[in-house]
């Protein structure tokens, strides 16, 4: 109990708009082999427990955890699935280690979004089956409603949202993992087809395929196995109102609660000072702004102007989504949060190549499960 937990290995496959040469199992295997090699562990003898994150309707398979163990080296081992985001999976791994019953845990998340031909319809089936779904609205109307109310309450402008998209698309150009990097100017992010006014398509992320595996270890094991462990200082998660009828549209209190939980574990009183860089959810450009405010990394209504002023650029005071985020890397469905934790680990280790941030020692990754959910998680990592 309460032993510290470290990330001792990471591996990934992708990210690409399509990946026809690999089955989902082979995609996961590629990420797993890299992660175990990075951690220096044999999954058959040295990993005590395995966690995967997946949702049945995304996989097109009921009880998807059936198809998880083989390619992770987890057959006849403790394996379970969390139908949540990758950061929920990481938090689960942290809990397993903290019980003292598991010492090394592998956590996997993946996306084969290209294989889902009817993703909007499947997302519609996450709406309330009686109250909302019969209206037959594309689920992105929910993002439109939220974006409008957020802009109304905070005075955030469409241009400020566009600045997020431009920054993230450009950041992605320096990230070899990113599938959607582009040398955009503001006009690129302000024009194009509408999705659900005021949300336009250029401010919404496109999907990508990929897989990520992270190996966690107890402090005792980490010190033996790794010469550069990255410590999990805190992990928090929270659900808000699931129904559209009872949620607050202009704020995301569940992200604030998740962050408070993580900050409390990490002993952080002043996140603006403590957090050196952040990878936050930007499924839609406005969400990055909303999330930065909910995380307490800037004041309410300030994120838009601070973004315009360059605070969140890679050379700014608080680099946000140096990876390119979901807008630049591609949205990895429930692996999205995991791709952000991976980026934080690479940055902290100094392995981020052309996008390496200078002198960072503590970073934050945050996820949101997308419309129509009010579900998110926060992980804080440090050298």
């Amino acid at each position: 109990m309460s032993e510290r937990v470290a990330v001792i290995g990471v591996g990934w496959s992708g990210y690409r708009p399509v990946s026809p040469e690999l089955s989902y199992k082979e995609l996961m295997y590629e990420a797993a082999v890299k992660a175990y090699a990075d951690a220096g562990v044999d999954p058959r003898t040295e990993v005590d427990s395995f966690v995967s994150v997946a949702e049945d309707f995304i996989e097109g398979t009921s009880i998807f955890d059936e198809y998880v163990p083989d390619q992770l080296g987890a057959a006849l081992k403790p394996v379970h699935t969390i139908p949540g985001d990758g950061l929920h999976g990481l938090a689960t791994g942290v809990m397993l280690v903290k019980t003292g019953q598991a010492h090394v845990v592998a956590v996997e998340a993946h996306s084969k979004a290209s294989n889902v031909l009817s993703l909007p319809e499947i997302t519609a089936y996450a709406q309330d089956p009686v109250l909302n779904r019969p209206l037959k609205l594309n689920s992105e109307f929910i993002a439109g409603l939220e974006m409008h109310r957020y802009m109304h309450e905070t005075g955030t402008s469409l241009e400020q949202c566009a600045a997020v998209a431009v920054k993230n698309k450009r950041n992605a150009l320096n990230n070899p993992l990113a599938a959607y990097g582009a040398n955009w100017i503001l006009d690129d992010a302000l024009n194009g087809p509408q999705l659900a006014w005021p949300l336009i398509k250029s401010q919404a992320s496109d999907h990508a395929d990929g897989a990520i595996v992270v190996v966690l270890a107890s402090e005792t094991r980490a010190k033996v196995l790794s010469d550069r462990p990255v410590w999990v200082l805190g992990a928090g998660w929270c659900n808000g109102a699931p129904s559209l009828e009872s949620r607050e549209w202009g704020t995301v209190p569940y992200i604030t609660k998740a962050a408070d939980m993580a900050y409390r574990q990490a002993g952080i009183d002043n996140p603006k000072e403590a957090i050196k860089f952040a990878e936050v959810d930007d499924t839609y450009a406005y969400k990055e702004l909303m999330h930065l405010e909910a995380l307490g990394l800037c004041g309410r209504g300030e994120a838009g102007s601070l973004t315009e002023e360059g605070m969140t650029k890679t050379d700014g005071k608080l680099p946000v989504n140096a990876s390119g985020g979901s807008l630049g890397m591609g949205h990895l469905l429930d692996a999205s949060g995991m791709s952000r934790a991976l980026e934080v680990v690479l940055q902290l280790r100094g392995n981020a190549g052309d996008r390496q941030l200078a002198e960072v020692d503590i970073g934050l990754a945050q996820s949101w499960r997308g419309v129509p959910t009010t579900s998110g998680a926060v992980v804080i990592l440090a050298n």
């Binding site: 009921s62 949540g84 699931p242």
Partner: protein
Amino acid sequence: MGMRKVAVVGAGMTRFVRRALETPKELAWQATRMALNSCEMTLDDIDAVCMGTAPDAFDSVHMKGEYLSDGAGAWGKPYMRSYVGGGTGVFAPIQGWYHVASGMFDTCLVVCEEKMSSYFPHAQAAFNTIFDHTTERALLPNLLWIFALEMNRYMNAYGISKEDIARVAVKNKRNAADHPCALLGDPDITVDDVLNSELLAWPVNRLDVSPVSDGAVTIVLAAEEVAKRITDKPIWIQGVGWSLDTAYWANRDLAYPTYVEYAARMAYEMAGVKEPRKEINIVEPYDPFDYKECHHLEGLQLADKGGAPQLVADGVTLRTGNMPVCPSGGLLGVGNPIAAAGLMKVAELFWQLRGEAGARQVPGQPKRGLAQAWGDLMQVGTVVIMGTEPGGEVAR
């Protein structure tokens, strides 16, 4: 450093019915409210919520865990759903256990809900999608196939007869006659009734199978120091174990559930149980089909390989026998709302070990019980061991 001890302090359940008026959220709420009332707690006392529910395909609700969250009392709380197919009902309490044992939370709700009746015309069709989409689904398999294939292999390997196995269904449906929530309790059922029921998929007859149902079960978990404030009869989680075998189910021997053995050994080690046949007083193994109870008793090391049917024939597994098995009535008798049915077994141990099981009470003041579930492609075992004393070994 010693492991943080975790206790069950409250439990609640709905009736298991063929088709419930209540929505999935309402079923979850009813069981949760009853569980909180049973230990005089409110949602304000709850730090986190864990959800167990089986395939989204039953409800055709994508991200069903998110949909159920407010019914489960998770609004504004840390909330996660865990998932191992049919094993989920006994995995969710393991998930609750690690929430509390990790030191992250002092109290945790574990809610399992299932509404199988929404699927039209029959929930079984949803099971087609559990098979491999490329190599198996095109053969149009149904869930009965894999049970029938496994049962036939088991009978053939050990020379077990249909009569031997039918006795399990008789015992459990009779036991269920004493359960106020049961769908299929029957005090007068006979072996002939089972053998003469409609043949579905030889060797499986209709009464060899548990019925699809709607229902929900909730338990409340608390850390040691909190549990002792809430109740003077906490029931301790002494050991947990789980194991998932390869997805290539046609590449293994179906006569023996190795994954159940591995899960059980993990739980026994944690609970400090060295001789399970002497130290486990009540068993609630997973019995969606009658032969599975035998199969699982063997995997749990509570019977020799091929020897479980003899224990049933000898009356050892009766409620009044030396090793009562499924005193609740099990899935065969109480019903099988998948995840809720697994958690019902854990709730049954809670009531039995507290001496509160009424007409179902096992005599002799049992000290320790084991609940087990199974799922996926004959692939996963989940085990929880509970007792009246904290027990358990210190962490490695």
